[in-house]
């Protein structure tokens, strides 16, 4: 029950944070002078195309860009009726992309889920690789196992992701006949989801997951190793050995449990770091994730599109931190019982 209440409380604070983030995002997007349409109008005027000007003027009033900034904000979020009544983020209307001349929802559509997919796969990869390697490196500290894993880890950290991507593509294609670029076979694009399509996506995921996850995994591995080494020196480990526990059982039950905390706490940081870090990779690998879209939108001051993408990334981050907070409370009684009468 306590946990449930805590989760609800965390959810509440998450919504609050999200609201603050929305203000920040809106302010930052509006910091550069002008907006997409006024820039376009000025350009059209200069070249004397009055028909275009009329359309742009129409869009301006359609999207309430002629209103004062604070009203624009409320209309965008959906706290205030715009020209078409309440129709903002809260109501599920993400706005119009001027650059692509299509609704934001349509542009972002699939790539939203592909982004989540690619990054979740990468996070999973990070944990699956870092956990055993980190524990092993700590348990066999200062042996060849430790040194080898550290060496491989530093290589992973030091290699630029896009370079790694190119290398993997080349050899992956040559030796394992892995596909190059994209997140699915072009034949499936726009097709409804089916077994063949899922299979195609999974095969295409291998290289991007590896590329995006490597540096995170090596960083995480080193952190886990350091945490474990700290814990291994603690007296309670000695107590466990003196009880007659075998080393592997002792490792798993005591030090790993304690060293696990930072590991879990990292979930929240991992997601946004990967999304923003994977932009370049997505461009190089030709992945239809949200990264490249965000890049274009920011460059062209396509405000609704960039605003929505930024909000989405913020949401992912907040969900990540919320998950890790709730997990921490579940894992660590010291956090759970803070303030309980002893």
């Amino acid at each position: 029950m306590e946990i449930l209440r805590y989760a609800l409380y965390r959810f509440g604070t998450m919504l609050l944070t999200l609201w603050v983030v929305s203000i920040l995002v809106f302010v930052i997007i509006n910091l550069p002078p002008g907006d997409y349409l006024s820039n376009q109008i000025a350009e059209l005027r200069a070249s004397g195309q009055s028909a275009g000007v009329a359309k742009a003027e129409f869009l301006r009033s359609e999207y309430a860009l002629d209103k004062p900034l604070w009203q624009q904000y409320f209309i965008w979020v959906g706290f205030m009726p715009g020209p078409h009544g309440f129709s903002g983020l809260v109501q599920g209307n993400f706005g119009w992309s001027f650059e692509f001349d299509r609704p934001v929802a349509e542009i972002v559509g699939d790539s939203l889920w592909l982004t989540v997919l690619v990054n979740l796969a990468a996070v999973l990869f990070v944990y699956v690789v870092a956990l055993p390697l980190g524990v092993l490196a700590a348990a066999r500290a200062r042996s060849w196992v430790d040194y080898t894993s550290a060496f491989v880890g530093y290589l992973g950290l030091a290699t630029p992701n896009f370079l790694l991507a190119l290398i993997l593509f080349y050899y992956g294609h040559r030796w394992f006949n892995l596909p190059i670029g994209g997140l699915m076979d072009p034949a499936f694009e726009g097709e409804p989801m089916g077994w063949e399509k899922v299979k195609s996506i999974l095969i295409h995921l291998i290289v991007p997951t590896f590329v995006i996850g490597t540096s995170g995994a090596s960083a995480m591995m080193q952190r886990l190793r350091a945490n474990m080494l700290d814990e291994l020196g603690k007296p309670y480990v000695e107590t466990a050995v003196a009880k007659g526990m075998s080393p592997s059982r002792m490792l798993a039950k005591y030090p790993l449990r304690v060293a696990f905390n930072p590991f879990v706490a990292d979930i929240g940081n991992l997601l946004p770091a990967m999304i923003s870090g994977s932009v370049l990779v997505s461009v190089v690998l030709g992945l239809q994730t949200i990264g490249p879209t965000l890049l274009t939108a920011l460059k062209t001051q396509d405000m609704f599109l960039s605003g929505f993408v930024l909000m989405f990334v913020a949401l992912l981050t907040l969900i990540g931190t919320m998950i890790s907070d709730v997990l921490l409370v579940l894992l660590d009684p010291r956090i759970r019982y803070e303030g309980r009468d002893a």
């Binding site: 007296p235 050995v241 003196a242 007659g244 019982y337 309980r340």
Partner: protein
Amino acid sequence: MAPLLSVKDLSIGFGKDDSVVRDVSFDVAAGETLALVGESGSGKTISCRAVLRILPKAAQIRTGSIQFQDGASCKELVHLPEGEMRDLRGNQIAMIFQEPMRSLSPLHRIGNQVSEVLWLHGRKSEAEAKKEVLACFERVGFPDPERTYSSYPFELSGGMRQRAMIAMAMVAKPKLLIADEPTTALDVTTQAQVLGLMKELQRDTGMAMILVTHDLGVVANMAEQVVVMHKGRVMEAGAAEPLLSAPAHPYTQALIQAAPKIPAAAAPKALPAKKDLILELKSVSKTYSMRAGKGWKAPSLIYACRGIDLELPRGKTLAIVGESGSGKTTAARIALGAEPPDEGGEVLFRPQPDMPPIEVHRMDRAARTAFQREAQMVFQDPYSSLSPRMRILDTMVEPLEIHRIGNRSEQRIKAAEMLQMVGLGRDMLQRYPHAFSGGQRQRLSIARALMLDPSLIVCDEPTSALDVSVQEQILNLLEEIRDQRQLSYLFISHDLAVVARIADEVAVMRRGLVVEQASPETLFHNPQHPYTKALIAAQPEPDIHRPINLELVAQGAGRPENWPEQFRFSGYEAPPLTPLAPGHKVRCHV
């Protein structure tokens, strides 16, 4: 009959260095207690860990044999395969460690950690194991075993945690228990109770015990056989009684000499009239409010100090004695201005005899800086109170730099002078703290405190992290400096024997209140309060004929609500501090 454990010519070393333990031999008979005595670095801990083969990775057993009588067969532990060794650990030979705070995993329930011993040795189903563990908890004195079973270590006090450790060691009914400084981290009264418990358990189960300790008082109370170690070698070994009453080896003699004793005071001594007070605490209270776990509950209040009135005359030493959590450190922090007292409390400081007093908690910036020059502190742990990244010279001159006193060469001369004053060489200025032993480090912190020529020094348990022989030297040094430089000390300690040596007046605290206050002579000759009596009774003495009186300890150290009528607290209501004789105040109804 063959002894239960027989260690012969044991040598242990690290890497290629010389052995740190050399040719150590001792026997432990079934049901008997052997004490391994020595200062830190004497090799006593390493020797006893070798029995369980839980040495640090770099250490190896070089020569010697460790034979353990397991039923009819005799096992050579040095060469026993790891798997068989594991069967012995926790099952036949159990161990209790020094720090009960850190020797239990913080993330697992006590019950889980204790029953694990039974699960590991594969003897019990989960339900049976739990039943046995609950019985064991009851035996070691937990009032509510079920609750303890599902508690986490951080929910228990230090003494209770050590009881849990004892339960963990005892639950499999081992033949041999190795206790490595089991009570060093505990308060005197808790120590007495834990030692009493261990003795009782030993009587009940007939197990043998190896007690590793630096405290001869503990030895005298517990052991039948004693092995004195120094620098990896056995200095003297034999039955406890002749060894303690007539030690043959000069090293043992020196150890016994250094052991703190409560003096047998001939007569109470009245305090001389107090004039020229350097520090005065007037009805100082401190209340902390603890944030409640749930937002809608009112925060709970913790009364760390309540209505403390203390006076420290110039050139004298006032000691505050109490267990952890008694409020003694809070009082000292308030006296130093580190924390403000509650409304109505006042701390007065007179830097010079004829100057008007300064109110410590109503000073402006300049006055505060001046006050800080006059009042300095010596901390408990010499290992963490010196920055490991600063040379001694830099650590020493830092206070002078902060207060902009003197130029570089003057500062250097002053630092060298202070080092010589505390008995260290001036050539040590360029070294880093790690090159110094615990005692030397404590000398360094004293030297640092003296750099600003203060008139008041607050000593917060300055000797409790040190070996007995070193403790003696530091106390001598403190006394010497006090008399030489007319210093005044506010001395915080949990150890009455230490306080007995150095203090001119002692205030005994419990639950944030002063319960008895007098000169040490009066206090030891004629203690009135049950808690003071318990503190005195709990002090282990290296005299085998004066065992700890557990009854007195239990009575005085128990809950203040169970004290005799005259002294009893009821909740936060306590009797007033009443003067019984001039200079002797006791918190009681008359």
